[in-house]
Amino acid sequence: MTRTTPAPATRPVAPSAPAAPVRRRPGRPGPGRALAYALLIVVALLYLYPFFIQIAASFKDDPQAAAAPLSWPDPVDLTAWRRILGIDGGDSSVPIGTWLTNSVFITTVVTAARVFLDSLAGYALSRMHFRGRGFLFATVLAVMSVPGVALLIPKFLIVTQLGIFDTYQAMILPLLVDAAGVFIMKQFFDTIPVSIEEAARIDGAGSFRIFWSVVLPMSKPALITLTILSFQGSWNEFSHFLVTTQSPEYRTLVTGLASLTSGELGSGTQFPLKMGAALLTTIPVAVLFFSFQRYFVRGASEGGVKG
């Protein structure tokens, strides 16, 4: 998995600082470095081996997964993956196809909405002069420190009161805007010089026009960051869906996996199936994480020069 790690994610060096310092004192390669490497390699094993075990287990049958958890599968058994991918007519007790469809649908809608609405609000909070702006921003900051676990009962109450409990609306609507995203965008817009927008304004462009065709194209780094955050957040979301739905047809990969793992679906340990489903849940975020890291950092350094 980590082999796909892109180019080194070097931090942008502050313009005032000279070349990056070499911390090691010259002429002392010694045992310290060997120790450092040994430590890093051991810890890296602790971090990577579980994923190896997970992948390997998904290619085993149940007895083999229990008998030989540490090794590569021998023989390779595709039963778990056939069930996950719905080959052999699928499996009604573990409808991973439905879960995947729900996850993709919800993540797409939530990510698109968040990127647009968070930017919109962030832009207004950064640029526009209107009464109540300071109060709104203070509220956004306050909202960010509200812990998610305290919102389970509130969310359940509001969706039942609105009559949308156990619907896609209940799953999606509360996630459309998130305060942290608004904050990130506001901070970013604060770093862009106003002069360009003022030129456009004098040319007679309206506020939305300026936002859409002048500001957003300059905001790629922040927009990518926000896209990644929103995708990751909504793809991995669990507790919100837990309290706003109850029918199996609304399960996402994450809530479906949770019900599978906590033993609500079928008996037996079924570890190969669980490992495969967990892997499927991890892959999209992993791909995003590894492939965007480079762009992410490059964008970040561009933003850094401006800041």
């Binding site: 502050a14 008998a67 526009m128 509001i158 509360p174 004098i202 939305f208 507790s239 949770a258 849940t281």
Partner: protein, 380 residues
């Protein structure tokens, strides 16, 4: 155009536009955050059992603060379980926060030294933090299963591993037993909030220790990134001066690096404190509080009390107590951090924003904090 400038300047129409731009945010946050919190606050003062609407038709009787006070004063199962969940969290915090802080700092120092493959290690350590907590918990269930990888490894060195997830024995009890303290001794019979002193002294159960390992494993990478950002912010001159003065590596660490990392250390510990009070997903997957309630956390108990036992009033009261604890921790952190940052130089000042973003993100669950440090830490 010219006329507009005479009024409130070129910003003339911005009053309405500003509200229009922020309207979606106001509606979503208002409708799905503020209003429901007020609703829950009301429900926490009722005996609503989930039938009908708690706000109409006498479905819920108003009981005032009883749901709150009874958690501390009324003998019974609810108080016992709530107190047990607080005890569990106490031990959980006591283990997780120092372990994650120390290991993150150590890894950051090593990764920041002059070594090859920096980005590889950084990515490897950070990756678990961006993945789904449910998926990671599933993997840990397998790793720590009776015939799982961990027990295999222990078997290799001749240790017969425990049945991790069904072992409710407290580790402190085991430790006390090993030094000859008898089980449930007479000096530890006094009751505090419905649990005997001996029960309070159980230490984390074997099962809870697995969740401690899971927490440290997943959060270390994130905090390592925070430390790395702070380390790279340290002024080069000090480093060079130290090299010229010929101080040893340990002296440099203790007298220079550590004091200068104080804000980062502080940030990491408080983020850790906040995060440890929010454990929910892991508990849901890894046994829902079992064995014998030793992995129960207040956050999960609030959910279970409401949605399983249908005692929404009591569940909501617990949620608000957790809320209060986290808010206090957050504000404490922000205030102390602000004080600490005040006299710092320009470079520090700039980084307040990402720090705040990270803090906030952490408040909203471990998933988001995953990517946040990158956002803030790297953009500058």
């Amino acid at each position: 155009m010219a006329r507009k400038r005479t009024g409130t300047g070129i910003y003339g129409k911005q009053g309405i536009t500003g509200w229009l731009f922020t309207a979606p945010m106001i509606i979503v946050l208002g409708l799905f955050l503020f209003v429901p919190i007020l609703m829950a606050l009301y429900v926490s003062m009722t005996d609503w059992n989930g039938n009908g609407s708690p706000f109409t038709g006498g479905n819920a009787g108003f009981v005032g603060l009883e749901n709150y006070t009874s958690l501390f004063t009324e003998e019974g199962l609810t108080r016992r379980t709530f107190m047990q969940s607080l005890g569990n969290t106490f031990y959980y915090v006591l283990l997780v926060v120092p372990l994650q802080t120390a290991s993150a700092l150590l890894l950051a120092l090593v990764v920041n030294s002059n070594i090859r493959g920096k980005s590889f290690f950084r990515t490897a350590f950070y990756f678990p933090a961006v993945t789904s907590s449910i998926a990671i918990s599933t993997v840990f269930l397998f790793l720590f299963s009776n015939t799982g990888a961990v027990n295999r490894f222990l078997g290799l060195v001749g240790i017969d591993g425990p049945q991790w997830f069904s072992d409710s024995r407290g580790t402190l009890h085991l430790l006390l037993g090993a030094v000859g303290v008898p089980d449930d001794p007479s000096w530890a019979q006094g009751e505090i909030f419905g649990r005997s002193l001996w029960e309070w002294l159980s230490g984390p159960s074997v099962a809870l220790c697995v969740i401690v390992v899971l927490a440290v494993w997943t959060t270390t990478g994130t905090f390592m990134l925070l430390f790395l950002a702070a380390l790279q912010d340290l002024p080069v001159e000090v480093d060079e001066a130290a090299a010229l003065d010929g101080v040893s590596a340990w002296q440099k660490f203790r007298l220079i690096t550590l004091p200068m990392l104080k804000p980062a250390l502080f940030l990491v510990t408080t983020l850790g404190l906040i995060g440890t009070w929010q454990v929910f997903d892991q508990i849901y997957v890894m046994g829902k509080g079992a064995p014998a309630g030793t992995t129960m956390t207040p956050a999960f108990l609030s959910y279970a009390t409401s949605f399983r036992s249908l005692d929404y009033g009591s569940g909501a009261a617990m949620a608000f107590i957790v809320f209060l604890i986290i808010i206090v921790l957050t504000f404490l952190q922000r205030r102390l951090l602000a004080e600490d940052r005040e006299p710092r130089r320009r470079r520090r000042g700039v980084s307040t924003a990402p720090v705040a973003a990270t803090t906030a993100a952490a408040g909203r669950g471990s998933d988001l904090v995953g990517a946040a440090p990158q956002t803030g830490g790297e953009r500058r």
